[in-house]
Symmetry: C2
């Protein structure tokens, strides 16, 4: 049998999905699981989206243009305009989810062996895309004590080498929920200009910014237009994760021309979801207002509940729908597996994502978990009760 590739061997397994078999087994035993482990919201997809697909009068599901339907891309410019991001349709390539936007951007910008700096903890699948593109991630740690603020610029400069070709951020952040300030982004801009780096920014949670704090996009940073690539997705915006519509966006014509060649090789993004996503641009503002109100209530509840549990600390995030909590545990992978394998309280348990999967520095995140507050408050209450009880039992177990 021929050997599989080195890349296939090195490819990391999804840290969120690797607990799935334990969850399946727990379900089979009749245990109810509160899923706080994955960013799959329970929020309904807007009717604008669902109805457009239902009513699409199509006889032949044809290829769409490789860059995506022009009508959709044109209308998207209006959406971005509301966020002070000025685009033309040609600055946008519609992709199969934000995932494909990341893949194409990495292949367009980076050579095998090139290094990109990413503040950690970061979205775990960046590891997979980097592995696929043979790009080396150089992590710099942002800490729970600062609420996962941007690490000082000196920390970036410390790891810059002749191979450094880019910086990648997620804003608002998954898994931290941190929203970068304008001055943090301006500092990054100076760095990007100084070393002539690409700046890739994953901003798929822009609809989820709280407490009146300002969302600043890398697309608004003046003077580095040719360095900046925006990575986007409608998955969270419209609670349409399975639709698989994202976008790769840049004002840099050479980048977009090259990226289009990758897009052409795979022919086109999904047709049905494009139709839904285009129609969803007319979703009434009230939809987002309600969603935001709901997430704020969930966040406020979860953060307060977590910080009341002895030994637990969780900073209050200003965006997205995740938080990273420090728990009184020694090994978050073991703890999260134990929650599914051994623990239950009133035949219920909670599934969390071990934070280790969001760090690439070995050993980091061992006493942290990511919590996605994507369930109704009532369920979050039961989940927090489970967690509190679990931590009690786990510490007793450890001291025995």
């Amino acid at each position: 049998m021929p050997a599989i590739s080195h890349k296939a061997k090195a490819m990391p397994a999804s840290p969120i999905r690797k607990l799935m078999p334990f969850a399946e087994a727990a379900k089979k035993r009749g245990t109810k699981i509160y899923h706080l482990n994955i960013g799959q919201p329970d929020i309904e997809t807007p009717e604008t989206f669902l109805n457009a697909v239902k009513n699409w009068d199509v006889k032949v599901i044809e290829y769409s243009p490789s860059a995506g339907n022009e009508s959709y891309r044109k209308k998207l410019c209006g959406y971005y305009k509301e966020y002070d991001i000025n685009l033309e349709a040609s600055d946008i390539i519609i992709t199969c989810g934000g995932s494909e936007a990341i893949s194409i951007a990495m292949m367009t910008c980076f050579n095998p062996g090139d290094e990109i700096i990413i503040p950690e903890p970061f979205y775990a699948n960046y590891n997979g895309f980097s592995c696929a593109a043979n790009v080396v991630i150089k992590p710099i740690i942002s800490t729970i004590d600062t609420g996962f603020a941007l690490p000082p610029i000196e920390e970036f400069e410390k790891v810059i080498t002749p191979k450094t070709k880019g910086i990648m951020i997620c804003n608002p952040g998954n898994p931290t929920g941190y929203l970068y300030t304008k001055s943090e982004l301006e500092a990054l801009k100076i760095l990007v200009k100084k070393y002539d780096l690409f700046l890739l920014s994953d901003e798929v949670y822009r609809e989820f910014c709280y407490d009146g704090k300002e969302y600043v996009s890398v697309m608004q940073l003046e003077g580095i237009e040719d360095n900046v690539i925006l990575l986007d997705s409608i998955s969270k915006r419209y609670s349409a994760c399975g639709a698989r519509i994202g976008a790769m966006i840049s004002k840099n014509k050479e980048i977009m021309k090259s990226a289009l060649k990758f897009a052409q090789a795979r022919l086109s993004p999904p047709s049905y979801a494009q139709v839904g996503a285009e129609a969803a641009l007319d979703t009434p503002k009230s939809y987002f207002k309600n969603v935001k109100t709901e997430y704020i209530a969930r966040r406020d509840y979860v953060i307060e509940a977590l910080n009341k549990i002895p030994g637990v600390y969780c900073p209050k995030p200003s965006g997205a729908f995740y938080c990273i909590a420090k728990l009184p545990i020694d090994d978050s992978d073991k703890f999260c597996q134990w929650l599914l394998e051994e623990f239950s309280y009133n035949t219920q348990t909670v599934m969390l994502a071990p934070a280790t999967g969001f760090y690439s520095t070995p050993g980091a995140g061992k006493n942290e978990v990511r919590i996605a507050y994507v369930l109704k408050i009532e369920d979050l209450k039961s989940a927090m009760t489970c967690l509190e009880e679990a931590l009690k039992q786990y510490s007793l177990k450890a001291s025995n």
Copy 2:
């Protein structure tokens, strides 16, 4: 401005899409274009597919499993069974079109610099996927004189080096329409076994085999189960090119386990299209019978019409809906561009794909074009009249 990657520079532009601007300009001048350049059938998508999507009662478009919905994969086993391909659901990963199946298979099997042998002419986007995966294609020529039969096994052996890691075929063939015989595939099997190579086979046109000739899948070749990967797509089967549903299939557990890691990184295949594709498995046989009858009539008409034009030769294909024709021209790229830029007959013209894009040997295919017989016979008639007239004018132009 930072430089784009070497890969982005080397990435080939789609040979089929590079004539698009000339087609756009011709349309603006009011010229009607018969599109024989792209495999976008005019056949209607089955109602089973369309209705299932319309009637999908969904409130939240959630991520599907990374390997695709289990119900779909289980039901697909029944579909393959009818072609004497015995699968379990775990042998199948649902992908975003056949394109993603090719990408994931290449990344799973091949290291940068590894060589794969592909009989040419071959589907042009194999170049793009190989470039993205840093894989080197070693072409061996199949000729129009044999109707593009599999080149002799000696030709494969001539290009085998220590870096050779796989063979890739398309059966029935795009762009040739050639259907490999059982003995050709048995010969490949011996070769694959002798050198322990991966055998990747793109069999997306299996519904389109004509004249009672037998379709043999690589999945039926006994003794090389661990070497074989089937690349599939529903795009042509259900005339649902824009839906973006394909599959990567193998009995090799290690390959599937590794491929799943790539699939997990990109989260999931498109939800809507999976629902349609699953329902489409119940499409009545009469649908395929009618489609096949239509394609046979189109093929028979086109092949006869082509061979009647002075200086034109086109072998009769037994599968898919393409043929490669030899024309009395010196440069198919120039000719195809001229058809759009300068020629018209009764304000009509025809768009063809220069065959050069399907060869990777420089200079090959210069007097050949690929014709996709995907239009109604009435339109094919007008298209063939245009082509005949165009060849007359082109030869006059050349002799002036």
